[in-house]
């Protein structure tokens, strides 16, 4: 019988710890699909963050390292410098990347480190029960801004792609989402392009994925997807902010 569809080999067939409707499972599956399609399991090394995705190495059947909170880009740097021909990616959430690890994010980009960062932005600290993140939207309620985020009191949301776009050594910056099959395929293409950026030794690439957290957004999974399309992508517009192919570099 012809197999029309099978789960990716690089994804372990184990029960997930992610909450119902969470976007992490989608993104990690896309990574596994790409590794299968390109047959690069033997040369790919991932770095898991501290946050909901800390257990990414339980799902992905590739060499992986954990990193201290916020430090995956530094760990990725250390790995990539030893194995410059491997594909090295840092998988990070918004607290990890945009709060405690922002210095590493910016300086790894400034060095043009030849790695890919997959940045899953769900605008909230999930693992610690839903506190405010640097990317929490204005008026969005979290356990540490129960009345909603106010610019006066909590500051304004950080737009990471736009921030990094000012850095000369950044090669590829794009913002995508996982709200429908078309967007999921765009996300997959973006991660592929990030990996291609590395393989061509073109430098630093970052894919920001707008991703739902139904539990701490206190919404149904479907409403969460709508929220990304209708609200979240107004603060964080989808699109490509830097592209070495289009700049002819």
């Amino acid at each position: 019988m012809e197999t029309l569809y099978a789960p990716p080999k690089t994804l372990h067939r184990v029960a997930t710890h992610y909450c119902p409707g969470c976007g992490h499972g989608i993104v990690q599956r896309l990574i596994a699909e790409i590794i299968d399609e390109w047959d690069i399991r033997g040369k790919t090394i991932g770095i898991a963050p501290v946050g909901c995705a800390v257990l990414a190495y339980n799902y992905l059947d590739i060499d992986m390292s954990e990193a201290a909170h916020g430090r995956p880009p530094a760990v990725a740097t250390g790995i990539k410098r030893v194995h410059p021909d491997n594909i090295v990616f840092a998988y990070q959430g918004d607290g990890d990347l945009a709060a405690i690890g922002l210095a590493e994010t910016i300086h790894t980009a400034a060095r043009g480190e030849n790695i890919t960062v997959i940045f899953v932005n769900n605008a909230v600290y999930g693992m610690t029960n839903g506190q405010m993140a640097p990317t929490t939207l204005l008026d969005q309620k979290t356990t540490t801004c129960p009345e909603g985020r106010s610019a006066d009191e909590h500051g304004s949301p950080l737009r990471i792609c736009e921030l990094l776009a000012t850095i000369d050594r950044c090669s590829y910056l794009t913002r995508v989402s996982v709200t429908n099959p078309r967007n999921v395929q765009k996300t997959k293409a973006a991660i592929k392009k990030g990996f291609r950026t590395q393989m061509g030794k073109k430098g630093f690439s970052l894919i920001e994925v707008l991703s739902p957290c139904p539990v701490y957004w206190r919404m149904s999974p479907i409403d969460s997807m709508r929220f990304i399309d209708d609200e979240m992508s107004r603060t964080y517009p989808l699109g490509t902010f830097k592209d070495w192919e289009k700049e002819g570099s």
Binding site: I45, D61, R81, A103
Partner: protein, 367 residues
């Protein structure tokens, strides 16, 4: 170690630390400027490109220790260096390195503290180094050189020890050792081949994946892992203790000191013998594992100890724990960048010695 003259170079301790790392096969160095260890980062910036290695001036000590984590996980020999404030920033990373069982070398050229302190020599980071400045039940092998030659020798050995036990190793120096110039010779063979590490991250090509982690969320797993770590630490305690013992046989008093203070204490021994006192010296070379058996043995025939440190008395606690109250342990220390003079130490010895003689007939226990 006797050597021919023409192989000797005059170098600062900091430069010797950097060069010895390169001789030991270290090709990855990540650092951040801080006095008094800048000669290390400067030397590495010059030398790494010459040997095809990687040098990165990181954006912070935190980034540097985590780059170290990456390169160690990738199977390479890797080093970072810093001083007080920077070493404090690295503590979280050191805990992760120990928890992930990653071999690496960290050099601390100690300066005065707490806080910003000053850039003078100090030994006040002893607790931080040997008791674990980071979180969790972990240990670092801590080596304390007392000359520029010994810095070179111990840095070289540190990489072997780190690999042997899959554990971070710290070189605990101080501003004086780091800035001092002495002749040094790199007489050990420069390592060009290092055996591959099966556990390292290289890409899981034709083998099951490797995971480097310290996270054990399933109940019971973390304790099991901790037990295994402790077993490893006991093995290190049994096998890797190093110390030097001089003139302890008939000593009236044995000085216990490491690093810069050990050299000053050695001078004190000579001066004291000229005025008729028999002073011995026990110099721990490994601060962890601590030479507690050697001290315990000595305490059976020595009447008193004096610990000399550039701190408020940190190692003195380990000395007391080693000898379990068998004889008095005195302490002389300077803090905040002060270096004890030989005369200060001798005056303290002279204060202590008559008491010992007087106490010969009396039970005297002081802990």
């Amino acid at each position: 170690m006797k050597s021919s003259l023409h192989n000797k170079q005059l170098m600062t301790g900091n430069e010797a630390a950097a060069e010895a790392a390169i001789q030991a096969g270290c090709r990855f160095y990540y650092g951040y400027p801080i006095t008094p260890q800048n000669e290390i980062i400067n030397h590495m910036a010059m030398r790494m490109p010459q040997v095809g290695g990687t040098f990165i001036q990181a954006e912070s000590e935190i980034a540097a220790i985590n780059m170290l984590h990456g390169s160690a996980a990738a199977g390479a020999r890797v080093m970072t260096s810093s001083s007080g404030p920077g070493i404090s920033l690295k503590q979280e990373g050191i805990s992760y390195l120990a928890g992930s069982e990653l071999p690496c070398v960290i050099v601390n050229v100690q300066r005065g503290g707490p806080g910003l302190g000053d850039i003078s020599p100090s030994q006040a980071d002893y607790f931080q180094a040997v008791k674990g400045g980071g979180h969790g039940d972990y240990r670092m092998i801590v080596l304390a050189p007392s000359s520029v030659q010994e810095i070179a020798d111990l840095v070289y050995d540190a990489f072997d020890l780190a690999d042997k036990y899959r554990n971070p190793v710290m070189i605990l120096g101080d501003a004086q050792l780091g800035q001092m110039m002495e002749p040094v010779e790199f007489y050990k063979p420069a390592k060009t081949y290092l055996p591959p590490k099966k556990w390292a991250l290289t890409g899981a090509d034709g083998r099951p994946k490797n995971v480097i982690k310290s996270f054990y969320p399933v109940k019971g797993e973390l304790e099991k892992f901790n037990r295994r770590l402790q077993k490893k630490y006991r093995k290190i305690e049994e096998t890797e203790v190093r110390y030097e013992e001089i003139n302890t046989k008939d000593a009236d008093l044995v000085l216990v000191a490491y690093g810069t203070c050990a050299r000053i204490s050695r001078e004190v021994m000579n001066k004291a013998s000229k005025i008729g006192y028999r002073i011995g010296l026990l110099r721990p070379i490994t601060l962890w594992p601590f030479p507690k058996d050697a001290l315990r043995r000595l305490s059976q025939r020595v009447r008193t100890f004096m610990v000399v440190e550039m701190s408020a008395g940190q190692m003195v606690e380990d000395v007391k724990l080693s000898i379990l109250g068998r004889c008095p342990v005195h302490f002389y220390g300077r803090m905040g960048g002060g270096v004890p003079s030989t005369n200060e130490i001798i005056n303290n010895i002279l204060e202590v010695l008559p008491k010992i003689n007087a106490a010969d007939s009396v039970e005297m226990i002081e802990i």
